[in-house]
Structure formats: C-alpha cells, structure tokens
C-alpha cells in the first residue's frame, strides 16, 4: 500500500496558511483575470473589456443619444467642446478552480510533503479569491477519475468550510489527470481560472491532454508543478535499492552509482523543461512550487511572478 500524507501534515500546512501575518499579506493580493470571466459583475477587473459604469476609468467614447449624462465628461466638453462619455474597466466575477492531484505519488517522498504543500497552497489561493468575492471550488482529482468536489463558495465566511474539505484529502491511487479533468469540465459550466496542482509524474501526453482540455473550454490555466528536495536529489537513497512505484506498485532494482544519479537528475530536468516549454507554447501558465521554499514564498513571490496574482 502506497504511503499517505498524514492528517497532521495537512493540518500543519493549513494552520500555516491561516496564520494572521500571512493573511494580512494575502489581503494585498488578487487574481489577475485574463479571458475566462463570467458575465456576473464582480470585483475582478477584466482587461480589454469596458462597461458603462464602474470605478476605474478605461476610455471615452463619443456621446450618442440615450447615453447616461451622468458619465458625460464635462471637463473635456469645456476644453474641447466635444461631448464625450466615460467608459470604465469591466469588473466581473472570476471563478477559481483549484484542481489538486491526490494520487499516491503526491505523498512520496514522505519528507517532501507535496500533498500538504498543495493543500496549503490551495487554501491560500482560495482565501485570495474569496476576498475578491470570486467563487472558488476545489477539485480533488481522484483515482477513479470522478473526483471530489467542494461546494462552489462565493463568500469569505465560508472559507472554514473549504478548509475542512481540504483537511480530508488524502493521497492514494494512481494519477488520473486527464480523466479527472475531463469529468470536471463536463460537470461545470463556469469557466474561470484553473490551477492544476500536481507533480505531473505522468506521461506527457496525459498532462497535455488534460491541460489542453481545460484551455479549450476557456479556462485560464496554470500548471503548478509541486516538487520537493528529495525528489530533486536522490543522494540519500542507498547504493543498492529496490525502487517501489508508489502508484503502480512496480519495483525496480537499481544500483545507484554516481552516473545513475546524474542520469536521474537529467531525466528530471528534461521532464520539467518539457512541461514548461509545452505550457509556454500553449500560453498556459506554469510555475514550480518547491516545497522546500515554503507556501508563503510561493504565494507571495512565485505566483505573482508568473502573473497569476498581483
């Protein structure tokens, strides 16, 4: 039976996200909506989209009969003797879909704590989204492909409900990234920002299919590759060891020479580079979430750097 992330680890991660000092920092962040927004008004400014009323001035247009005179720019009329109507930056509701890979590989190596890290990250993102009054849903990509869904939450007061849902997640079974994504997008018709938190340790065609599917359904997609120190550096493994695949159960006897360790490192770098390059080609956001760096660094530095938050 593959190892599992302990409830204690999840609890620790969620408590670290709920720390007041971190919440105060998260209060200053917001999601950057790209394309996938609904028609429901909200607080998320939408680029290249305007509306008749709002807070942030976007542009002017020539007055036409029937326009609301409250938005006539009287200063411009005085200086230019032209009747211009002000238009505003559109602000819409931007749903956030947090898709967490809960396959058994997320619990291995145990010291990396990838699932706990992903859960903590998801809690932080959900908090940011709810503070913007954006709806949030967490999807646990389960082995059977159906997945476990949290309720679609729209208010920050319901954050504890989401936290409770996250605390029940556990890593088990094989990764069904494509099936899980397919099932989810068929079940919802509220495109928005989709953040896929996974180690992506599947064949490239699998994750490419899943991410393409999301993109094709109009989601703004961010692939968040969760990785830990031990996964990067297997030097602590014994020289002669039987490697056991946490998901498939297949074992492989290896004699870990220095050359073999280097070969693994090259394979990992190739895997990451391929994922990153593929995402870049599809205008899919990509970020590496290193568990060693911590949740706070990822939320405050890495995700704003890739443009998910600002």
């Amino acid at each position: 039976m593959p190892p599992n992330a302990s409830t204690a680890d999840l609890g620790t991660a969620l408590r670290s996200v709920s720390a007041p000092h971190l919440l105060r920092k998260l209060d200053r962040l917001r999601f950057v909506a790209q394309h996938s927004v609904t028609q429901r008004p909200g607080n998320t400014p939408v680029a290249r989209a305007t509306q008749a009323s709002g807070l942030e001035l976007a542009s002017h247009k020539a007055y036409a009969p029937g326009d609301d005179l409250r938005y006539l720019d009287w200063n411009a009329y005085g200086r230019l003797d032209q009747r211009l109507i002000k238009t505003f930056r559109a602000e819409r509701e931007a749903p956030v879909h947090l898709l967490i890979d809960t396959s058994a590989s997320m619990a291995v190596p145990e010291a990396d704590g990838k699932l706990a890290f992903a859960v903590g990250l998801a809690a932080g993102l959900a908090y940011i989204a709810l503070r913007q009054n954006n709806p949030v849903r967490v999807v646990a990509l389960a082995p059977d492909g159906a997945g476990r869904l949290s309720p679609l939450l729209r208010h920050a007061q319901r954050l504890p409900e989401l936290i409770q849902f996250l605390a029940t997640l556990e890593a088990r079974g094989t990764t069904r990234l494509d099936d899980g994504v397919d099932a989810y997008v068929r079940s919802t018709h509220l495109p928005g920002t989709a953040v896929v938190l996974s180690d992506f340790l599947v064949e490239p065609s699998v994750y490419e299919h899943a991410l393409d599917h999301l993109r094709g359904r109009g989601y703004d997609v961010l692939a968040l590759r969760v990785i830990g120190r031990e996964e990067r550096d297997p030097s602590t493994l014994p020289r002669q060891v039987r490697l056991h695949d946490a998901e498939s159960g297949v074992e492989r006897l290896v004699d870990l020479t220095a050359a073999h360790r280097a070969a693994y490192a090259r394979a990992l770098d190739g895997h990451l580079a391929r994922l990153k390059g593929w995402c870049a080609a599809r205008t899919i956001g990509y970020a590496t979430a290193d568990t060693a760096a911590g949740i706070e660094a990822c939320l405050l530095a890495e995700l704003p750097r890739v443009g998910l938050l600002q």
Partner: protein, 612 residues
C-alpha cells in the same frame, strides 16, 4: 603480539551473522518513489545486486565488531628481553575439611572448579604443575604444557580423611618454582586462611580460599580404658562431642558394639560447646562404634571406633626356688584377675608347658623356644647374658619412657636397690632402667626381641627387697607392664588415626591383601611388609593366608573439624601470573581497542543518522 584470551576470537563467527543480517536487510531495502517514470534512464540491476557489495556503513559495523572482539581477546606485546611463557604451580588442599559442604557442593568441588578455571586461563605456552596436598603431599602432575592432562589428573583427585601437610606441599611447590631463569607462581587452593599458613609462605604464595560455613558437630574423642588384665565389664570409656558451630546444635549419639546398637541418646550443644558421654556397662567385647546422626557440613568426623578386648588370661611359669618370691607372685595373682602363675623348681623346668611367659629367677637357662621369657637376677654358667660382677646399693636413676613396657609410668627416682648385677645389654635389646656405677652407666633392666619371642632381664633380685610389695607400687607396675609387654595380646583389631601409618607384622609369608574403607583392594607380595596408610576413616582389612586383621582409622582432629572460616580471601599471586600480561614485561592494548570501538560506534551513529 599475543593474546590473553585467544578464545575470544571465536566471537569472530559473529561476522557471519553480521553479513547475513546485512544481506537480509539489503534484500528488504525498498524505497518508495513517486513514479518510476524518471528512473527508466537508470538500468535495472539484476546481476550486480546479487554480488556482495558492502556499503561503507557495513564496513564501519564490521570494523566495530572486529575491534570489540580484539579488545576482548586482550592482545599484548611482549617487550624485548621479557620472560618467556609463564609457569604456575597449583597446590590443591586434599584435607578432610575440604569435604565440608558449602551449599550443594563441597569445598573441594569449588576449589577444583576454581583451579580448572585457572588452568583454562593459561596460555598455550604456559607450563603447569599440580600438587596434591594430603597428609603426604605428592606431585600429581609435573610441569607440562599439556593442560588437558593436568585437568584429567585434577579430575581424579579426591580429598582424604586426614589433615593435609600444607607446609610440606608448599615446600615442594616453592622448590619447584625456584628456577632463576624461569620463575613460577605458586597458587594454593584451600579452605585454610592465610593466617594458618606458616609465616614463610604467607608472602610467597597466592591463596584462593574457599569455604566459610562452621556447621559441624564432631566426635572429638573416643576413649576406652581397659587394663591388660581387665574384663570388658570393667572397661569404661568416654565420648567427647564438640559443636564447632557458632549456634546451638542438636544430634543423636548412637553406640554400637559389633553392629549391635546398645545406646542412642539425643543431645543439644551450645555454640562452640563440648559434651561428654561416659561409656559404662559395655555389653560385650568387640568393635565399639560411636556415630552422630546429624546433618552437618562435614560427615567424616561423625563416626569413631574403639576396641573392647575380650578376656584372655596371661599364664606365667615362674622357675624359682625362692618361697618369698613365690609368695609375692601369688599375692599379685590373687589381686590381678586373668594373671595366672605356676611355679617350678629349676631342676624341674622342662619347657614352657603352655605358659605365655617363663620367669627365670636366679637361674639363666638358654632362651625357651616356645614362649617369651623374663630373667630376674640371672646367674649361672649358661646364662645368655654376659655378667661382669655385682654392684651393691645401686639406685635406679633413669628409665626409658619411650619403651612400650614403661609407657605411662613415672617411677619415683632415685630408687635404691640393694644389689644389682652388671649385665651387658645385648644388641637386640633396649635398656629400660639405668643407673651409674663405677663411673659408667649400667643397665638394670633391658628388653628386646630374640628368636621370635620377646625377652627381658632384670639385673636386680625381686625377692631380696620384696620389691613387689605394695610399698614399691611403681616397681610392681613395671613388673606387670613388663609381663604384659612380653606376651602382648594378639588382638585382631587395631585402632589408629587417619594420617598415621600402622605397621602390621607377624603375618604369614603369603601374599597380603589390604582392603580400604572404599573397598579398594591392594595385594602385596609375601616378602613385603604391610603398613596401613590410613588416608580414609573406616575399616581396613588386612589378610594373609587365613590370618586377618581389622584396622579402624578414626578421624579425630579438632583443628580440622573446626571448619568455620571467618574471612574469605583471594589474593593475587606475588609472582607474575601465567596467562596474564605481567606488569612491566607486557604492554596490553585492549583498552585502546575499546576506545577505538567507542569512536567507531560514534562514527557509525552519525553515519546512520545522516543516511536516514
């Protein structure tokens, strides 16, 4: 380099266990990985993992184990010029007190086990000598490298029922150890404390003292008093029982004559107390056996034997013409039961005629060939004693107290005699009473054995001064003792003490058989004198051609029965001990090895912690 404990290398087999554990642990060393997707670039090991490829943690563990084993083996380097292999002389006390029980084992068993352990400690090049310290110490095994032979001979040793002559044993041991080029240590395994050793041994001998119990109730003495002419009904005796323990003891004293019990009495004795039990009204002559029914630590001193002689008259033929002497002798006969006198004139004498002793008065015929003889004031041409004249008013000045005929007597000297003849003492005789006359000593009485019978002569005349009257009671006792000595009772039972040697003579010239208390039979040639060397208490039977003699050996030794030992001491020998590094000549590195082992253990702990 040599090793104090080379047997420790047997623990090297643990290396095999370590390797087996390592292989077993390696076979079950499985690590979970998220996916084998990235490991496909690493070739799967099939053949190489089947080979034994130890990691450095395993190497550290092997080094740690080897270092510990080496430390246990205690290697040492012999400095140049130091002595070679050592030698040890082991002296094992075989005395009776070593039979004392200490729990389930006897002191002797404990001492033998300690000695066996000590021999096992010897190095293969060390020599060992074993001396058994009994009443007569003997070298059980001379110096030898064959330790197995020493152990085999040690296993055959048993304690005896007598006191050990530790002094002689240690003298033998130290003499054997005193070789300047190869000195040896002397180690004594005994229950005797160091204070009981002679002062000259106390600082020279290593002592392994064993035993401490004082639980012993012993027959300290068994005495039967029976005069030569007394019947068993007139005999009486005394049994002394001592409690050597420092607490009250209880027991039952059983008395038997020839296996017939005639008395059983219980008693209690306080700490270190002595109890006396008089013996009266003995039921019959025979072997008297006194035994204690008590469960104490030492059993050998719970039995003692004595002999009650049967009635046997002494017949004396007095060849005399003196009515006064005849009258004296008749009065003595009337007062002394079992002493019978018959009288004959010198002219009528024609042989002993069945008498045990022939008394010649003022005549000196040749020695009778069928009886012992006593010559009183011998005179005549055919006298067997050379006479040189007569002295008057001769006093008895001295007597031979060592002679059995005078044992126990204390004549009141000087005792004046009216006259005495000047007789030469024959070579086969010893002077009994002596005086001085004419500036030289003269013998007034002498006795010895000649022609197969005992002979004695008195140079003075018993009839002249009525010397046998009650006024001269000492001279009367000398006379009676002399008669008794001349015709000794031919008892078929003798009593002796363990540790002594009893000579048995007058046996037929046939092969002799000796059976000891343990029923071991020894057969001696006909021309060999028989002596009973009583190492064990109990009955020895000596037989030759139908003639048999029973010899009972008693263990009556208060010092040996006092088995309590207030202190226990085991001291190291002053001389270098073989089998162990000698100070100054050898340099041990065992402590350093343990230090290295501790360092390796720390290193391995850090390494193991880091690897996990």
């Amino acid at each position: 380099m040599a090793f104090v404990n080379p047997a420790a290398w047997l623990f090297g087999a643990l290396l095999g266990v370590l390797i087996a554990l390592y292989l077993w642990e390696r076979s079950r060393r499985r690590v979970d990985v998220p996916s084998l997707l990235l490991w496909h670039t690493v070739p799967e090991a099939i053949v190489r993992t089947s080979r034994f490829r130890p990691d450095w943690l395993f190497v550290l563990q092997c080094l740690l184990l080897l270092t510990l084993i080496a430390g246990l083996a205690d290697p040492y380097f012999v400095r140049p010029g130091a002595a070679g292999p050592g030698r040890a002389v082991f002296v094992l006390d075989l005395s009776a007190s070593m039979q004392a029980r200490e729990g389930r084992e006897t002191r002797f068993d404990l001492a033998r086990a300690a000695l066996r352990h000590r021999v096992a400690e010897l190095g293969s090049d060390d020599e060992a000598m074993l001396i058994g310290a009994g009443p007569r110490p003997r070298v059980v095994s001379a110096f030898t490298h064959d330790h197995a032979e020493v152990l085999r001979r040690l296993a055959a040793l048993e304690p005896v029922d007598a006191r050990a002559n530790l002094d002689a044993a240690l003298a033998i041991a130290t003499r054997a150890a005193e070789q300047p080029e190869r000195p040896a240590s002397v180690e004594l395994f005994t229950d005797a404390p160091r204070e009981q050793l002679a002062p000259r041994w106390r600082d020279r001998v290593s002592l392994v003292q064993i035993g401490e119990t004082d639980d012993n109730l012993a027959i300290e003495g068994l005495q039967v008093t029976q005069g030569r002419f007394q019947d068993y009904r007139d005999a009486h005796g005394y049994v002394a029982v001592r409690n050597f323990a420092h607490r009250e003891a209880h027991g039952v004293l059983t008395l038997q004559v020839d296996d017939t019990t005639f008395s059983r009495r219980g008693f209690s004795l306080g700490p270190r107390a002595v109890g006396g039990f008089p013996l009266q009204d003995l039921p019959a002559p025979g072997v008297l056996r006194a035994s204690l029914d008590v469960d104490d630590a030492l059993a050998v001193d719970n039995v003692a034997y004595a002999y009650v002689r049967p009635v046997r008259p002494l017949r004396v033929l007095a060849v005399t013409e003196s009515p006064s002497l005849q009258g004296e002798l008749q009065r003595i006969a009337r007062a002394t039961p079992n002493l019978q006198f018959t009288f004959a004139a010198p002219s009528e004498y024609a042989g002993a005629a069945g008498a045990d002793v022939v008394l010649f008065h003022r005549v000196a015929p040749p020695f009778p060939t069928d009886a012992a003889s006593l010559y009183v004031a011998p005179d005549g041409d055919a006298t067997p004693f050379a006479a040189h004249g007569t002295f008057t008013a001769v006093p008895i000045l001295d007597w031979n107290a060592q002679h059995p005929a005078l044992a126990g007597l204390q004549p009141e000297l000087p005792f004046a005699l009216t006259a005495a003849r000047d007789l030469d003492v024959p070579p086969w005789a010893d002077a009994l009473l002596t005086s001085r006359a004419d500036g030289r000593p003269i013998a007034l009485a002498f006795a010895g054995e000649h022609d197969g019978y005992r002979r004695a002569a008195l140079a003075f005349d018993l009839a002249t001064d009525t010397l046998l009257s009650a006024d001269h009671v000492n001279l009367l006792l000398v006379f009676l003792n002399l008669l008794d000595w001349l015709a000794p009772a031919t008892d078929t039972v003798r009593i002796m003490r363990t540790g002594d040697v009893e000579v048995v003579d007058h046996l037929p010239a046939r092969p002799r058989h000796i059976i000891d208390p343990h029923q071991h039979e020894t057969t001696l040639p006909a021309d060999t004198s028989v002596s009973v060397d009583a190492e064990y208490a109990g009955e020895y039977r000596v037989a030759a051609d139908g003639t048999s003699l029973r010899v009972f050996a008693n263990f009556l030794d208060a010092e040996e029965s006092d088995i309590g030992r207030a202190t226990q001491s085991t001291s190291n020998p002053p001389a270098p001990r073989p089998g162990a590094p000698a100070p100054g000549s050898q340099r041990g590195v065992g402590a350093w090895l343990y230090a290295v082992a501790a360092a390796l253990m720390l290193l391995e702990w850090f390494a193991a912690r880091r690897s996990t």
